[in-house]
Protein backbone atom coordinates (compact mmCIF):
# COMPACT_ATOMS: atom_id res chain seq x y z
CA UNK A 1 0.00 0.00 0.00
CA UNK A 2 1.48 3.33 -0.99
CA UNK A 3 1.48 6.22 1.45
CA UNK A 4 -2.08 7.37 1.96
CA UNK A 5 -3.12 10.80 0.69
CA UNK A 6 0.15 11.26 -1.20
CA UNK A 7 2.26 11.78 1.90
CA UNK A 8 1.85 12.74 5.49
CA UNK A 9 -1.46 13.30 7.18
CA UNK A 10 -2.86 13.72 10.64
CA UNK A 11 -4.24 10.50 12.01
CA UNK A 12 -7.97 10.57 12.52
CA UNK A 13 -7.63 9.52 16.11
CA UNK A 14 -5.16 12.31 16.83
CA UNK A 15 -7.47 14.91 15.31
CA UNK A 16 -10.40 13.49 17.24
CA UNK A 17 -8.53 13.62 20.53
CA UNK A 18 -7.19 17.07 19.79
CA UNK A 19 -10.65 18.47 19.26
CA UNK A 20 -12.20 16.59 22.17
CA UNK A 21 -9.52 18.02 24.44
CA UNK A 22 -10.98 21.48 24.07
CA UNK A 23 -14.69 20.76 24.00
CA UNK A 24 -16.41 22.37 26.93
CA UNK A 25 -19.35 19.99 26.91
CA UNK A 26 -18.68 16.29 27.47
CA UNK A 27 -21.65 15.42 25.31
CA UNK A 28 -20.13 16.98 22.20
CA UNK A 29 -19.13 14.40 19.62
CA UNK A 30 -17.59 14.63 16.17
CA UNK A 31 -18.83 12.95 13.03
CA UNK A 32 -16.41 10.88 10.98
CA UNK A 33 -16.62 13.26 8.02
CA UNK A 34 -15.89 16.21 10.28
CA UNK A 35 -12.75 14.51 11.59
CA UNK A 36 -11.53 13.83 8.08
CA UNK A 37 -12.21 17.42 7.04
CA UNK A 38 -10.50 18.81 10.12
CA UNK A 39 -7.47 16.67 9.36
CA UNK A 40 -7.42 18.33 5.94
CA UNK A 41 -7.76 21.77 7.52
CA UNK A 42 -4.84 21.12 9.83
CA UNK A 43 -2.78 19.75 6.98
CA UNK A 44 -3.43 22.93 5.01
CA UNK A 45 -2.63 25.02 8.06
CA UNK A 46 0.74 23.38 8.56
CA UNK A 47 1.59 23.41 4.89
CA UNK A 48 0.59 27.07 4.49
CA UNK A 49 2.72 27.95 7.47
CA UNK A 50 5.66 26.04 6.07
CA UNK A 51 5.31 27.34 2.53
CA UNK A 52 4.81 30.97 3.54
CA UNK A 53 7.78 30.77 5.91
CA UNK A 54 9.92 29.25 3.18
CA UNK A 55 8.86 32.01 0.76
CA UNK A 56 9.82 34.57 3.39
CA UNK A 57 13.23 32.96 3.75
CA UNK A 58 13.56 32.92 -0.02
CA UNK A 59 12.74 36.64 -0.16
CA UNK A 60 15.61 37.19 2.24
CA UNK A 61 17.87 35.13 0.03
CA UNK A 62 18.30 32.35 2.58
CA UNK A 63 17.74 28.66 2.14
CA UNK A 64 17.29 27.75 5.76
CA UNK A 65 13.94 28.65 7.21
CA UNK A 66 14.35 30.08 10.70
CA UNK A 67 11.85 30.92 13.38
CA UNK A 68 12.01 34.61 12.49
CA UNK A 69 10.66 33.83 9.02
CA UNK A 70 7.81 31.92 10.57
CA UNK A 71 7.19 34.79 12.98
CA UNK A 72 6.95 37.25 10.12
CA UNK A 73 4.25 35.32 8.30
CA UNK A 74 2.40 34.25 11.43
CA UNK A 75 0.02 37.25 11.78
CA UNK A 76 -1.35 36.95 8.26
CA UNK A 77 -1.59 33.19 8.62
CA UNK A 78 -3.74 33.49 11.72
CA UNK A 79 -5.93 36.10 10.08
CA UNK A 80 -6.47 33.85 7.10
CA UNK A 81 -7.62 31.00 9.29
Amino acid sequence: MEASESGAAFKKETVFKLLSLYFKDVKTKVSNDAVVLMAEMLKIFVKEAAIRASKQAHTEDLDCVQVEHFEKILPQLLLDF
Partner: protein
Amino acid sequence: MADTEEQRNFTQTQRLKAAVHYTTGLFCQEVAEDKEVEFSKQTIAAIAETTFRQCEIFARDLEAFARHAKRTTVNAEDVKLTARRSNALFSFITQRSEELVSNNQEQKEKRKKAGGKAKKKSDAPLQSGMDEDEDSNMA
Protein backbone atom coordinates in the same frame (compact mmCIF):
# COMPACT_ATOMS: atom_id res chain seq x y z
CA MET B 1 -7.23 12.53 43.53
CA ALA B 2 -7.33 15.71 41.44
CA ASP B 3 -3.58 15.47 41.10
CA THR B 4 -3.66 12.15 39.28
CA GLU B 5 -6.30 13.38 36.91
CA GLU B 6 -4.30 16.50 36.26
CA GLN B 7 -1.28 14.35 35.65
CA ARG B 8 -3.22 12.16 33.27
CA ASN B 9 -4.50 15.18 31.35
CA PHE B 10 -1.00 16.57 31.24
CA THR B 11 0.40 13.30 29.86
CA GLN B 12 -2.33 13.12 27.27
CA THR B 13 -1.65 16.70 26.23
CA GLN B 14 2.02 15.92 25.96
CA ARG B 15 1.31 12.90 23.82
CA LEU B 16 -0.95 14.90 21.54
CA LYS B 17 1.65 17.63 21.22
CA ALA B 18 4.21 15.02 20.32
CA ALA B 19 1.90 13.56 17.68
CA VAL B 20 1.28 17.01 16.20
CA HIS B 21 4.98 17.73 16.26
CA TYR B 22 5.75 14.51 14.44
CA THR B 23 3.22 15.06 11.69
CA THR B 24 4.24 18.71 11.38
CA GLY B 25 7.78 17.48 10.85
CA LEU B 26 6.59 15.23 8.04
CA PHE B 27 4.75 18.06 6.32
CA CYS B 28 7.74 20.38 6.66
CA GLN B 29 9.88 17.70 5.14
CA GLU B 30 7.57 17.53 2.13
CA VAL B 31 7.65 21.29 1.70
CA ALA B 32 11.41 21.32 2.20
CA GLU B 33 11.86 18.86 -0.64
CA ASP B 34 9.40 20.70 -2.80
CA LYS B 35 10.82 24.19 -2.31
CA GLU B 36 14.40 23.02 -1.85
CA VAL B 37 14.86 24.70 1.51
CA GLU B 38 15.66 23.50 5.00
CA PHE B 39 13.60 23.97 8.13
CA SER B 40 15.36 24.58 11.40
CA LYS B 41 14.19 22.44 14.31
CA GLN B 42 12.94 25.50 16.13
CA THR B 43 10.80 26.43 13.16
CA ILE B 44 9.20 23.01 13.03
CA ALA B 45 8.58 23.19 16.76
CA ALA B 46 7.09 26.66 16.43
CA ILE B 47 4.75 25.55 13.63
CA ALA B 48 3.72 22.51 15.64
CA GLU B 49 3.01 24.56 18.73
CA THR B 50 0.99 27.08 16.73
CA THR B 51 -1.00 24.29 15.09
CA PHE B 52 -1.69 22.79 18.47
CA ARG B 53 -2.99 26.08 19.78
CA GLN B 54 -5.01 26.70 16.64
CA CYS B 55 -6.81 23.44 17.37
CA GLU B 56 -8.23 24.98 20.49
CA ILE B 57 -9.74 27.78 18.44
CA PHE B 58 -11.10 25.29 15.90
CA ALA B 59 -12.54 23.05 18.59
CA ARG B 60 -14.28 25.89 20.41
CA ASP B 61 -15.68 27.21 17.12
CA LEU B 62 -16.91 23.77 16.07
CA GLU B 63 -18.58 23.15 19.39
CA ALA B 64 -20.24 26.56 19.29
CA PHE B 65 -21.53 26.01 15.75
CA ALA B 66 -22.92 22.61 16.57
CA ARG B 67 -24.57 23.90 19.69
CA HIS B 68 -26.02 26.82 17.73
CA ALA B 69 -27.60 24.31 15.38
CA LYS B 70 -28.92 22.48 18.45
CA ARG B 71 -26.77 19.40 17.81
CA THR B 72 -24.35 17.55 20.02
CA THR B 73 -22.42 16.09 17.12
CA VAL B 74 -20.08 18.27 15.13
CA ASN B 75 -20.52 17.58 11.43
CA ALA B 76 -19.09 18.65 8.09
CA GLU B 77 -21.20 21.80 7.93
CA ASP B 78 -19.57 23.06 11.10
CA VAL B 79 -16.14 22.46 9.62
CA LYS B 80 -17.09 24.38 6.51
CA LEU B 81 -18.08 27.33 8.67
CA THR B 82 -14.69 27.24 10.35
CA ALA B 83 -13.11 27.64 6.92
CA ARG B 84 -15.10 30.73 6.04
CA ARG B 85 -12.33 33.32 6.35
CA SER B 86 -10.48 32.48 3.18
CA ASN B 87 -12.35 31.88 -0.06
CA ALA B 88 -9.81 29.43 -1.39
CA LEU B 89 -9.86 27.45 1.83
CA PHE B 90 -13.63 27.45 1.92
CA SER B 91 -13.87 26.17 -1.67
CA PHE B 92 -11.32 23.49 -0.95
CA ILE B 93 -13.06 22.25 2.15
CA THR B 94 -16.46 22.34 0.46
CA GLN B 95 -15.03 20.32 -2.41
CA ARG B 96 -13.51 17.74 -0.06
CA SER B 97 -16.75 17.56 1.84
CA GLU B 98 -18.65 16.80 -1.36
CA GLU B 99 -16.09 14.15 -2.28
CA LEU B 100 -16.59 12.53 1.09
CA VAL B 101 -20.36 12.58 0.68
CA SER B 102 -20.17 10.95 -2.73
CA ASN B 103 -17.67 8.40 -1.42
CA ASN B 104 -20.02 7.55 1.41
CA GLN B 105 -22.89 7.18 -1.04
CA GLU B 106 -20.84 4.79 -3.14
CA GLN B 107 -19.88 2.74 -0.15
CA LYS B 108 -23.48 2.59 1.03
CA GLU B 109 -24.58 1.35 -2.35
CA LYS B 110 -21.83 -1.24 -2.45
CA ARG B 111 -22.88 -2.51 0.91
CA LYS B 112 -26.50 -2.65 -0.07
CA LYS B 113 -25.61 -4.67 -3.14
CA ALA B 114 -23.41 -7.00 -1.15
CA GLY B 115 -26.33 -7.42 1.19
CA GLY B 116 -24.16 -7.17 4.23
CA LYS B 117 -25.02 -5.58 7.54
CA ALA B 118 -25.93 -1.94 7.10
CA LYS B 119 -23.36 0.08 9.00
CA LYS B 120 -23.91 3.80 9.14
CA LYS B 121 -20.47 5.37 9.05
CA SER B 122 -20.51 8.86 7.70
CA ASP B 123 -22.52 10.77 10.27
CA ALA B 124 -22.13 8.50 13.21
CA PRO B 125 -19.86 9.71 15.99
CA LEU B 126 -16.32 8.55 15.51
CA GLN B 127 -15.27 5.31 17.10
CA SER B 128 -11.82 3.81 17.12
CA GLY B 129 -10.82 1.34 14.47
CA MET B 130 -12.04 3.08 11.35
CA ASP B 131 -9.54 2.20 8.71
CA GLU B 132 -11.54 2.03 5.49
CA ASP B 133 -12.13 5.74 5.11
CA GLU B 134 -8.44 6.48 4.87
CA ASP B 135 -8.27 4.54 1.65
CA SER B 136 -11.21 6.34 0.15
CA ASN B 137 -9.39 9.63 0.55
CA MET B 138 -6.68 8.76 -1.93
CA ALA B 139 -7.13 11.34 -4.64
